[in-house]
Symmetry: D2
């Protein structure tokens, strides 16, 4: 499987550079029979797109998704779904400066070392622009999961020094927060912080948290396709993410087993856990509880302040980046985290369908019929 392909049964292949003509994705493996139209996908892209608040870059991309294949009469047909999002506000000329030098914190240097050639315009393939395709594909995955009662919510747990204490989330406010922070007061503070960063020509990082509700027990494959392993793969594949933790995460490392273990109890014929320190995963398989993880986001590497760097020919120089950039990518990463989570879960849901003989027999007896 090549580098821009993700998933085994619900498989996506994304393509596109920051300042190319378009970006897009081919989804291969979406089950037939899912109701789907561009209108269903668009809201997911709208959440991700820049230009909608002072919190983000001023690049104005409409991000209008087109479905080029795989849907017929309003339903998926089981064949590849090709989604295309034209780039409409490219300004490659703004990147002339980067043509000959390596931006600190960006992939310019490592791409050059790897390939001996790079599209310098806004980072080319390594730009955050490629996440539009992920979000479009993730929308389809989310719609599939919704059919099974599974819903995903990611949000800003921390932005720079601002931290939303556990238990104080106001999820009803979340859709109105321009920084995806579900707390009215802290959201306002965060917005001010971003404006201040922009003025100072600097940037900041943060922490994104993700909750999945309605997940059935049993998703994830031992040994190497554990649910947490695959989610980590998915989330760390997002540019700017430097860490992930599940449930209590790193805090678990200083607890005793007797403090950390989630005990089981039965109540009214159903099995429950007394706590959810493990974040809804046991032995790499979902246990049916709330799935919970957090991801660390580094500060946007593009800053207006002067930075030391070197040219492609190895001379020392100083660079001030003047393009259109986000003072923090955290608010936008939220939708990408949801997308990657949806893609991973959709894939595991399909994989799980073949894990048991009794379940398979049910499918073949009930849904498919041979005819000769």
């Amino acid at each position: 499987m090549s580098g821009s392909t993700y998933g085994q049964l619900f498989q996506i292949s994304t393509w596109g550079e920051s300042h190319g003509e378009a970006t897009g994705v081919v989804i291969d493996g979406c089950p037939a029979g899912l109701p789907l139209s561009a209108r269903d996908i668009q809201p997911f892209l709208d959440r991700r797109r820049p230009g909608v608040s002072p919190a983000v870059s001023s690049r104005q991309e409409a991000d209008q998704v087109q479905i080029l294949s795989g849907v017929f009469n309003g339903y998926t047909t089981g064949t590849p779904i090709s989604l295309l999002i034209p780039n409409t506000d490219t300004r490659p000329e703004e990147y002339e400066q980067m043509k000959h030098c390596f931006r600190p914190g960006h992939a310019d240097f490592s791409f050059q070392q790897k390939y001996g050639i790079r599209d310098h315009r806004g980072g080319g393939r390594s730009s955050g622009r490629e996440t539009a395709a992920r979000v479009a594909a993730g929308a389809v995955a989310s719609l599939l999961l919704k059919e099974f009662g599974i819903s995903i919510t990611a949000f800003t747990r921390a932005l720079g020094p601002i931290h939303l204490p556990e238990g104080e989330e106001d999820f009803a406010f979340l859709p109105r927060s321009p920084v995806s922070l579900p707390h009215e007061g802290l959201s306002s503070k965060a917005l001010l912080l971003l404006q201040e960063n922009r003025k100072k020509k600097d940037s900041c990082g943060g922490v994104v948290e993700c909750h999945v509700r309605g997940l059935m027990a049993g998703l994830g494959q031992p040994v190497f396709q554990k649910l947490d392993a695959l989610l980590s793969h998915a989330i760390l594949s997002i540019g700017g993410i430097k860490g992930i933790e599940f449930g209590l995460g790193f805090a678990a490392s200083s607890l005793l087993g007797s403090q950390y273990n989630d005990c089981f109890f039965a109540d009214n014929g159903r099995i429950h856990k007394s706590s959810n320190h493990g974040g809804g995963i046991l032995g790499g398989i979902s246990d049916g509880d709330l799935l919970l993880f957090r991801a660390a986001v580094k500060p946007t590497p593009s800053i207006g302040l002067p930075q030391d760097t070197v040219t492609q020919t190895g001379e020392n120089t100083v660079l001030s980046i003047s393009g259109r950039h986000d003072p923090s990518i955290v608010p936008r990463v939220v939708s990408v985290v949801e997308a990657m989570t949806a893609l991973t879960l959709a894939d595991l849901l399909l994989l799980h369908a073949s894990s048991r003989l009794d379940a398979l027999k049910k499918i073949y007896n009930a849904s498919f019929q041979d005819s000769f």
Copy 2:
């Protein structure tokens, strides 16, 4: 790719249950011409195996690896290498108690939900015993990497409340530490802590850190096969790992871009970075600097203290686990982290070989010849 398979070109398939006859792995894709014998692999397994210190379980497994295929006259042949490690100290009878109830923190419940059947003997496939096969395969990967000057060192950064401050590592001491903690004083303290845990019938977690030296720039594939994405996948696939972070990791989330970015400078015709906050990765591709990450390890779920749980038929009960278990898996996880890192890097090294036309031409001109 199924659940117990990992890697694309340097691919492994592991198998085996805790109390089955043996555990093993098939390595498919190791290049031909690597010197290899069981003696080369054994030291890696010796580091992982239980029964060598008071820090670990008293289960006595010799972990003697056998090479059943793929090696001829002392060299790999390019065909699958089958490694087998017999289980010699199984005591399935000790697990009768677990047959009918779910151990908290273990995969018993989720496996049962997933498959409708489970091998209850010591956790079956979900036991840490499966990591012996990973370590054996990782040894081969490590030997391959060594041919390219790449070396991997993982160690205990923290064990319960004991934390090794950055900069105080004494790597010369590491091989003598029974808890893989490269600091004589803290290592002794850690050993005492483990003995205390055992007495209290409790367990503790910790943090494992991993360093890779000698890595060339260019490993990792954009977008979904980023070096950090694949390493996260690999490390989180180890049982008991609840988080990972690269470079500054979660700490990056509260820094400014101007503080976090690693600036470049040229010196004597070579390009350097002024810091390594990113942990040796830029845009998901190795930058040639020290690769550095940390993993959070949860406390061993098996503890002697009584815990609330439920039986398979849904009745409440209390369980005290009396098997042979590690008071902390941290010391043993160290070798597994190294193994998974080696497997990931070996795979990316092979993948990278086909990334550039100029490099490919060099191979085909120099090494291979057609003959008709």
Copy 3:
């Protein structure tokens, strides 16, 4: 890997329906540094496209390929290459008739059984139209192979009762034959046959043969990725192909070992074979000789003559297909056979690069440099 994805390192994902807006392909894994433009790809599509002779369907598709990503300043960058071919001459209304009944010999029935839904317009995804994307991707693969001196030529060995005897090929004539038959006299006869078929509202099949020159020894992976296994997979994935044979193929089954074996001999320090009954493959690995195989093509299933069939609701009916169809797909399949062969060989060439330690060391010593 999902159904519309092919290849491991040189990986393609095709998409598109016969009467959708466009068809296309994402190539992920093409090495960086290959000179590439739409002009380089277009000639391959021109050979495949309908509407250029009385031998083919009257559907007029310009098949103008667009490169949407992965190429910068005239060279591939190592990132996904997205190719798009608009559909310009769709007439879905012509297929209203097929909406409710199953065309004999087509995938209508099996798609309906599989997915419970189907795009009936010209067969949707099962139409030969999808091969445009294959040919576009195959063009890139061919250009890559050309860099290594490898060239592929497929041609019509037989069309209905017309058979080109071995040894009478006139390859210089091939580019001028509208039926891809490298023999002037037989080509004219074949063209007449096709016109006659059209008049009779019937169709015919044939045999396509493929030769690969300049192939180095060593391509193909034992055991399941044998060169002939992968080529068979590739060629049988083309709609309408019902068989494949390598070298002497089925004729080998009635020979003695002493007649069939290709003996080796050395001459002037090079190793040769006295014959090439095996078609350039030994043990599933190329031996450096001419690679040769033949594929059986069934008659075009769409015919104007009335045929018995059933409606989707299970009533007997009679169907005469009036759309724009090829009297034989053989002439067009030739370019698809070349494309699939190129894709398979490009993939194996990349895979082979990581098969030997000595070769890998050469790459890493010569082409890549670490910098810290």
Copy 4:
């Protein structure tokens, strides 16, 4: 996916050399809940194994399979099934002669070119011995298919000049034929032919035909994972197979569409076809009819007659092969064809389970339950 791995969901990794200690396979992805024991697998191996008739090599391998993992209390658990078959009658010394020269028709030369090293003992990995692992894995696949009413029968259609006419098959006799030829008279003739070949120190090829009964419609994935494409891949991966054809196969190439097309008709509420020229496949997807294909087997390359060849250092020489070899591999290939067919169909059956939303919902509603 590496060279010795096959399948996507029902995935196998085989290993082992002709004269190594053992051969084996890891099956990863077999659904949980399938009744399985070594006794269930053994009969499949017994059919394949040499030494049971004058028709085959005199090498005496017991081929006793051991199950090392993945089965608990008589049922598969969903985790990897490791099967091991010890080699008991190896005589590597008999192959000293081949150490320095290339056997015509074998993989010696191409392996040497590919890897720069080869296990010369009986062909090492390229020996037919590796098919024991395929047959063991195929047995598990067959047992899985049996749960769905699917059965596979392969047989000798032709052996050298002896050809079993269509319609004269006596399948009741098949189990008693030492050459897997379902016709008492022709079977006797075939046995005489093989004895004669042995006397003449020569060998012969043949044709194996395979029938699958009880297959539901809908298996196979468009475009590149077509049922016939995958079966071709599977069958051509068997050493010595030089061609495959489905239904009428190559004969289709000289028919008219009106002759070839299988027409549909409805009878008593069920849909039937008036003929089965396509071999049970429409558009690469099973149509529910009898699946039928034929494979061409080349003559055994190992013959006692003197053959011209070259040494590894490039000198001309003459070689007479004196090892224990089959006068024809056809009788033994029959069981390998069945195994590869079973593996392919089992994989597609699992893949198909996730193709439709309605079917998936059925699984998740009926079989799996979340618990929190």
